[in-house]
Amino acid sequence: MPTLDIEKIKKEVVDSQLWRSVFRGGVWKDTPRDRAGHIIGNVWLHLHPVKVRPRALEWLYTWGMGGISFALYLILTLTGVALMFYYRPTIGLAYRDIKDLEFAVTLGMFLRNAHRWAAQAMVVAVIAHMVRVFLTGAYKKPREFNWGIGVLLLTLTLFLSFTGYLLPWDQLAIWAVTVGTNMAGATPVLGNEGPLGSLVGMRINNDVRFTLLGGTMVGENTLLRFYVMHCVAVPLVVGILLILHFWRIRKDSFSAAPYVANEEKVDVWPHLVKREYIAAAATVLFIMVWSILQNAPLEAIANPNVTTNPSKAPWYFVGLQELLVYFDPWIAGVVMPGLIIVGLIAIPYIDTNPKGVGYYAWKERPFANTLFMLGVFMWFALIYIGYALRGPNYAWYWPWEDWLMPKAAPPPTWSVFGPHGVAAYSMLLGIPLMGAVAAAWMLLPKLIQKELDGKKTMGAFLGAVALVAAVGMALGKMGPIEGAFLLFFTGASFYYGFVLPQRHIRALDWPRYLVTMVLVISTMSVLLKMCARLAFNIKYVLTIPSISMNF
């Protein structure tokens, strides 16, 4: 019996014309040349560099989140294309087709679950990736542009998820999208309900919301538009930006800093590629198991006449929805998200601190890291409040309270400077006063040249607020809870919005300083407005109804 010479067969196969025509290169000898050739000669792998720094292989450095996001994008593409075979985007059929996927299509339910859960996971992964990149200073020169592309990709990820939300055409979908798209109607100038909108002739049937919906309400056109955006237009743009994103990582080189000077780089094949594979496989496994155990939600068929109670946006937008409680739609739905996107893109250009590129550096970048993490924390805190603590009628329910039990009607709200407020002459008193406070807050941290003593300053500030609270309590205007609210929110705003900037960025040049302060003060204004509403039922601090300007 002839012995089977595996090596000989292998060589014959690899040397055959067929094999050679498909795979370039010969028998694998694991030489450095082979390893490099594997990366360079393979269209799928050549977006990698041939070698990377050892730190780039560290799980605790990268968290694997960039790769996992891309893996999820691929899962979403595959499951999404599969779902398209059974889904028809019309009002009469969409909901039924989802029911069919659930009940009558082989693996239909599994695919729908996988698509749904991978979309949610991708939002989380992309945000985590951004946090990692920020904390390791990987956006700094020369990677500013790629950070900007990353921010756009995050925005598009959210938009993709949002457009997909409508497609099942159930009550969850129609009301989440109604809440979401009405924010667009509040866009200044371009929206019919936004400030200045009516001045330039914006009506319900010609503004930016109308374009988005393809009509004046969420209907047949909207479903088709969202379908096309979800399945074709946005994935195409995301794909192009992804190529650009990867290409720039390759060209700008990976951010990880060397452990020691003149350290030897390691081969991407196999060291990085095998890690990527494990991350991707774990992602696929995670999504599969999640999809087996948990079904995607599907509520009753969409009914424009029956509003669900409470109506909530998709969870990643619930933070913005919670902001809508405190601010007018054009601020909460347009200005705030706009500031977040523009502010994120601007970060690399205003952060001139050269330290902390390619490693975690809390001590070297205290201001940047603290405020960025505060922003991320606030985003998720608002999501938690909106998602878990808001019950029917959007009333505040603690986790131990039953949503079925009725709540007292909300107390009447009032405005400080406005027609019915304490000072009726908003123009005369409110605008100058508010302007003066804002200007002082903007300028003082830089104008005070000497670094303030943090403890003493905070002590003095909290003492003053406590005095105000004590007077308020003595006059019966507030109780201890309101006092605590006041102390906490103003204290936090003062610390993060005044003491920290004064300590760390007063040396920044004026343009960068002012942009930074605008972003910082906007963030703090959220805290302050939450305090004003939750503790004192203040609707607006300043309202000028004639031009729909309310703050």
């Binding site: 029911k99 069919d100 774990a282 599969m288 029956v306 029917p392 039953d402 709540k407 009607a409």
Partner: protein, 461 residues
């Protein structure tokens, strides 16, 4: 762990997860039912073959049994294009699938194997399954292929399968003449009771009837989103709470209607009479307590009748069976007046035969104590519950015929009510203006009858 091991492990786990997912999908809930049906049906045929003396017939039966046993498992459905039904009920209820069970009859007694009862009756002959589907009559979720899903015992399916006599409500959807057809007797009784107790005095159906409360012409479409959940929690049926799960086998529109008949509505919807949650006090549901007048079976009949009140379902005109409006008895004078009183549902508030006014929360009535601010809340509540609509015979002495006609024509606004507790809520119920709704001739006779039953006022006024 080395990456080589992780590579092998992750691939093995992915494969395992895929097999798990596929197995879960493959082992669909409906398959064992269909499989068992084929077996049972084949066994039955084998039994017949064994008993059959004619050899050729026995062989045929055996072959048929073999074929039945080998039938492929598949999702079966009835498509009713006209009614927009896609009903997969026959996937499990194979005995009701006319292609598998051509006679539509079998000897099985258990669901889902048993055949549809009464297939030989005119009722079923007139409603062939392949034309009407299943859910047109039974409701439920036709697209579903799971037990809970198909019967609608899940969240977010608002039309669960109709139980028991309630199914007669489905006759009402198309048959305007349902009162005279066989098989819809319970729904017909429901309509009779509805009018007899004066429900139409407050509730209109398709625009006919009072304006005090909800229009019931589409009551079975009422979204649960519009029923506060905690009100369901207060419902008692047979003295028991509805099972505390927000899925629609219990928290459904049938039980919501029933709740108003077998409970005191003021207990189901107590609202906020002492302004604990709101700036102003809000009276409990204005609907009177019918528990002493309407038995449980009668309540079921009314539920059956109202279950047919839908506007959501689009039914082609040729499926409708029209009926001429019911003839009114030829009566004159006071006798006609009494008929008019019932026709417009005056008894809904003023009581059967105008004998005793029903509850009107926080209105002034006989037998109440004097209002006292210091009275405990529970006692105040009890006093407010004693408030009542006028008992008409007691009032009649002070009216002339013309005055009475005018009063009925113009009604009495809610704001004019004399409250027992000045701090309490304004009564929810009021006397609407009947002008234009009750014809002049009817009004005259109504007034005549009312004056005839009035308690004569001999006090000298």
């Amino acid at each position: 762990m080395s990456y080589r091991k992780a590579f092998i492990a992750s691939n093995a786990l992915m494969l395992a997860a895929f097999v798990w997912a596929f197995a879960k999908d493959f082992n669909a809930e409906w398959k064992p039912y269909q499989k068992k049906y084929y077996q049972m049906a084949a066994d039955e045929m084998d039994k017949q073959a064994a008993a059959e003396k004619d050899g050729k017939k026995a062989a045929e039966l055996k072959a048929a049994a073999r074929k039945m046993r080998r039938s492929p498992l598949e999702v079966k459905q009835i498509i009713s294009v006209d009614l927009g039904r896609y009903d997969r009920c026959v996937t499990c209820h194979v005995g009701m699938d006319e292609y598998t069970n051509t006679t539509l009859k079998n000897t099985f007694t258990e669901h889902p194997y048993k055949a549809h009862p009464k297939v030989d009756t005119a009722l079923i002959k007139a409603h062939p399954f392949n034309k009407f589907g299943c859910t047109s009559c039974h409701s439920g979720q036709g697209l579903a292929t799971t037990v809970d899903g198909a019967h609608g015992w899940i969240k977010h399916w608002e039309k669960p399968m109709l139980k028991g006599v309630t199914i007669q409500g489905s006759c009402v959807k198309c048959h305007d003449n349902f009162e005279s057809i066989k098989g819809a007797e319970v729904a017909a009784q429901g309509k009779k009771l509805f009018n007899q107790h004066g429900c139409q005095g407050c509730h209109a159906i398709n625009g006919k009837g009072g304006v005090i409360s909800v229009e019931l012409g589409d009551i079975s479409d009422k979204p649960f989103e519009r029923i506060a959940g905690y009100n369901f929690k207060r419902v008692r049926i047979d003295g028991k709470e509805l099972p505390d799960e927000h899925h629609n086998s219990h928290w459904n529109i049938q039980n919501w209607i029933r709740a108003h008949l077998v409970n005191d509505p003021a207990e189901v919807t107590p609202n906020d009479p002492f302004a604990k949650l709101n700036a102003e006090p809000i009276p409990p549901s204005g609907m009177p307590d019918f528990t002493k007048e309407i038995s449980k079976d009668e309540a079921d009949a009314i539920v059956a009748y109202l279950s047919g009140m839908t506007k959501e379902e689009v039914i082609p005109y040729r499926y409708h069976v029209t009926a001429p409006p019911a003839k009114e008895p030829a009566l004159t004078g006071a006798a006609h007046g009494k008929f008019v009183y019932q026709k417009y549902g005056c008894q809904g508030c003023h009581g059967l035969d105008a004998k005793q006014g029903r509850r009107r929360f926080n209105a002034l009535a006989d037998g109440q104590k004097e209002y006292d601010e210091k009275m405990p809340e529970a006692e105040q509540f009890a006093q407010m519950m004693l408030g009542a609509e006028p008992t008409l015979p007691k009032l009649m002495g002070t009216y002339t015929h013309e005055e009475l006609v005018r009063k009925i024509e113009n009604g009495v606004s809610a704001a004019d009510a004399k409250k027992w507790s000045p701090k309490g809520p304004m009564p929810m119920v009021y006397m609407p203006a009947w002008k234009g709704k009750i014809s002049k001739a009817e009004l005259d006779d109504l007034a005549t009858w009312l004056l005839s039953i009035g308690v004569k006022d001999d006090s000298g006024f």
